[in-house]
C-alpha cells in the first residue's frame, strides 16, 4: 500500500510537437517570401523583415503592450467564467436525465450556431464596453464546456452514487469528492475545445467593435491599408495562441496529475 510506484515517463510536450526540424518548411517559406519580396515587391505581401518596422509605430505610449494585455485579460476572464459557469450548468443538466433530454434541442441549436453571429446582437444590448466584450465571449465559449460536462455527467457510472451512499457522504460532499473529480477530465476537454474559440471570439469582438485590444489594432491596420503591420500582428497573435495552447496543456496535466496516463 505504502509503496507507490511512480512511472517517470519522459514528458512529451503538447500533442504532436515534433522537434525544431519540423519548422524548417516555415523558415524556407519566410526566406523565399523575403527574397521574392525584395526582387519583385508586392503591395500585398511585404517581406517579413519589414514587419517589425511596421509594428514600431504602435510602440509609443505602450499601445501595443496595452493591446496585448487587454486581449489577454479579456481572454482569461471570459475563459474562467465560461469554465466555471459551463461546468456548473453541465452538471446540473447532465445529472438529471429528463432535464437533459428536454433541453437537448435547445442545446443542439446553440452547439451548431456559429457563436460569432451573436457578436452584433449582444453589442446592441450591452453597448461598447469591456463588460460587453466579456458577455459576448462567455456566451459563445460556454457551449463546448457545458456540452462536454453534460455528456460526462450524464454517463457517470451509477456505482459512484452507491459509493457515496455507502460512505455516508452528504450530497454536497459527494459532489465535491466524487462528481467533480469524475467530470474533471471532460470539463478540461471542454476547456481545451473552448480556448481557441474564446481567442477567436475576443478578436472578432475587438475587430468589429473596435473597443480595444489586438483585434482593434488589426482592424485599424486593415482600414489604414498597412499589410506589413497586419502581418506583424498576425505573428504576435500566433505566438499568443501557441502560448495559450501550451498553458492549457500544462493546466490539464497539473489538474489530472493524480490519474495514470493511459496513452503513451
Amino acid at each position: 500500500m505504502t509503496t507507490t510506484v511512480r512511472s517517470r515517463r519522459p514528458r512529451v510536450a503538447a500533442a504532436g510537437w515534433a522537434p525544431v526540424r519540423g519548422l524548417v518548411p516555415l523558415g524556407v517559406l519566410l526566406v523565399v517570401w523575403q527574397i521574392v519580396g525584395m526582387v519583385a515587391p508586392s503591395p500585398f505581401f511585404p517581406p517579413p523583415t519589414s514587419w517589425p518596422a511596421a509594428l514600431t509605430s504602435l510602440l509609443p505610449g505602450g499601445a501595443l503592450a496595452q493591446g496585448i494585455l487587454s486581449t489577454l485579460v479579456t481572454f482569461a476572464e471570459s475563459l474562467v467564467i465560461a469554465f466555471v459557469l459551463g461546468s456548473a450548468l453541465g452538471i446540473l443538466i447532465g445529472r438529471n436525465r429528463v432535464v437533459s433530454a428536454a433541453l437537448a434541442p435547445l442545446l443542439d441549436f446553440f452547439r451548431y450556431l456559429p457563436a460569432v453571429a451573436l457578436v452584433p446582437l449582444i453589442v446592441l444590448f450591452a453597448g461598447y464596453t469591456q463588460t460587453m466584450k466579456i458577455y459576448v465571449v462567455v456566451f459563445g465559449a460556454i457551449w463546448p464546456i457545458l456540452l462536454q460536462v453534460r455528456l460526462v455527467a450524464g454517463s457517470l457510472d451509477p456505482i459512484l452514487d452507491d459509493v457515496r451512499r455507502v460512505l455516508g457522504l452528504s450530497r454536497g460532499a459527494g459532489l465535491a469528492k466524487i462528481v467533480i473529480p469524475a467530470i474533471l477530465p471532460g470539463a478540461l476537454l471542454g476547456l481545451r475545445l473552448a480556448s481557441p474559440l474564446t481567442l477567436i471570439l475576443v478578436l472578432v469582438v475587438e475587430i468589429s467593435t473596435q473597443v480595444s485590444g489586438l483585434g482593434r489594432m488589426l482592424g485599424v491596420a486593415q482600414q489604414s491599408y498597412l499589410p506589413a503591420q497586419v502581418f506583424g500582428l498576425i505573428v504576435i497573435i500566433g505566438v499568443i495562441a501557441i502560448l495559450i495552447d501550451l498553458a492549457i496543456s500544462i493546466v490539464e496535466r497539473w489538474a489530472l496529475r493524480y490519474r495514470p496516463r493511459r496513452e503513451p
Partner: protein, 270 residues
C-alpha cells in the same frame, strides 16, 4: 438503503432508447415554455433590456425578411461562400495530408510548421484577406477554405499513419502501385478520421464566412446582422441568428446523412 439495488435496475431499464417521437415531444416542451415565458415577460415589462423584442416581434420580422426576399438572398450568399470554401479547403487539406502522411520523414520535417500555421486563429487572416482581395466573395471563400484545410490535413495525415504494418505488407506482396495503395488502403483507413474533420471544418467554414461578412464583404448573413444592428432592429437580428443556427444544424445533419457511405463509420451520432 436496502431498496437501492432494485432502484438501480429500474434506472438501467430506463436507459434503453425510447421512441423518437417522445424524445422530440419532450424536447419541444421547454422550447415552447421559454417562448411563452419570453412573450409574457416582454408584455409585463420584466426583461432587463427594454429593446429586447418579443417572440412575436421576431416572428413578424422574420416573415417580413422572407417576404421581401432579403433573408433568402443573404442565406444563399452565405451558403455559397461556405460550401465553396469548405470544398476547396478540404480538397487542399486532403492533398496536403496525403503528401505529409506519405512517410515518417516528411511528417518529422513538417509537423511543427503545420501546428504553428494551424494555431494562428484564422480570424487574424481576415484583415490581410480584405486588403488583398478587397470586399469580394473570393475573400470570403479564401477565409472559409483556410479554416477547413488544417483539420482535414491533420486527420488525413494521422489516418494514413494509422495503416497497420499488416496492411502495408499486404500492399507490398500484392505489388500495389502507390496510387492503388493510396486508394485501396490508405484512404479507407483514414476515412473515419477525415470524416470527423470534414464535419468540424464545415462548422469552422460557416463561422469564418460569417466573420468575413461582418468584417469585410458587404453581403450575406454576417453583413445583414451588422446592418440590422446599425438600424437598431433587434427583432430582425434575432431572426437572422435563429436562421444562422438552423443553417448550422442543417449543414451538420446533411453531412451526418453521408456517414453510412464512409467506410469505417457506423453512421451513428457522435
Amino acid at each position: 438503503m436496502t431498496l437501492a439495488p432494485a432502484k438501480k435496475v429500474s434506472r438501467a431499464a430506463r436507459r434503453t432508447p425510447r421512441f423518437r417521437g417522445s424524445r422530440i415531444l419532450i424536447g419541444a416542451v421547454p422550447l415552447l415554455v421559454v417562448i411563452a415565458l419570453w412573450q409574457v415577460a416582454k408584455a409585463a415589462g420584466a426583461l432587463p433590456f427594454s429593446t429586447v423584442p418579443s417572440p412575436s416581434d421576431v416572428a413578424v420580422a422574420g416573415y417580413r425578411l422572407i417576404a421581401d426576399g432579403e433573408l433568402v438572398a443573404a442565406v444563399a450568399h452565405t451558403l455559397v461562400a461556405v460550401i465553396l470554401g469548405w470544398v476547396v479547403g478540404s480538397a487542399a487539406g486532403l492533398m496536403l495530408g496525403i503528401a505529409l502522411g506519405a512517410s515518417a520523414t516528411t511528417w518529422r520535417w513538417t509537423m511543427a510548421t503545420v501546428q504553428v500555421l494551424r494555431a494562428i486563429p484564422a480570424i487574424a487572416f481576415v484583415s490581410i484577406a480584405v486588403i488583398v482581395f478587397s470586399q469580394t466573395l473570393t475573400m470570403e471563400v479564401v477565409i472559409a477554405a483556410w479554416v477547413a484545410v488544417w483539420p482535414v490535413a491533420i486527420s488525413a495525415m494521422d489516418g494514413i499513419r494509422d495503416v497497420t504494418p499488416h496492411h502495408r505488407e499486404l500492399a507490398h506482396s500484392l505489388r500495389m502501385r502507390p496510387l492503388a495503395r493510396l486508394i485501396k488502403i490508405e484512404l479507407p483507413t483514414a476515412a473515419p478520421n477525415v470524416f470527423v474533420a470534414l464535419r468540424l471544418s464545415l462548422g469552422g467554414s460557416l463561422a469564418l464566412a460569417i466573420v468575413a461578412e461582418i468584417v469585410g464583404n458587404p453581403q450575406g448573413i454576417g453583413y445583414a446582422l451588422v446592418q440590422q444592428q446599425l438600424a437598431l432592429h433587434a427583432d430582425a437580428m434575432f431572426a437572422y441568428i435563429i436562421v444562422a443556427g438552423l443553417i448550422g444544424l442543417a449543414l451538420n445533419a446533411a453531412i451526418q446523412a453521408l456517414a453510412p457511405l464512409v467506410p469505417g463509420t457506423r453512421g451513428g451520432r457522435s
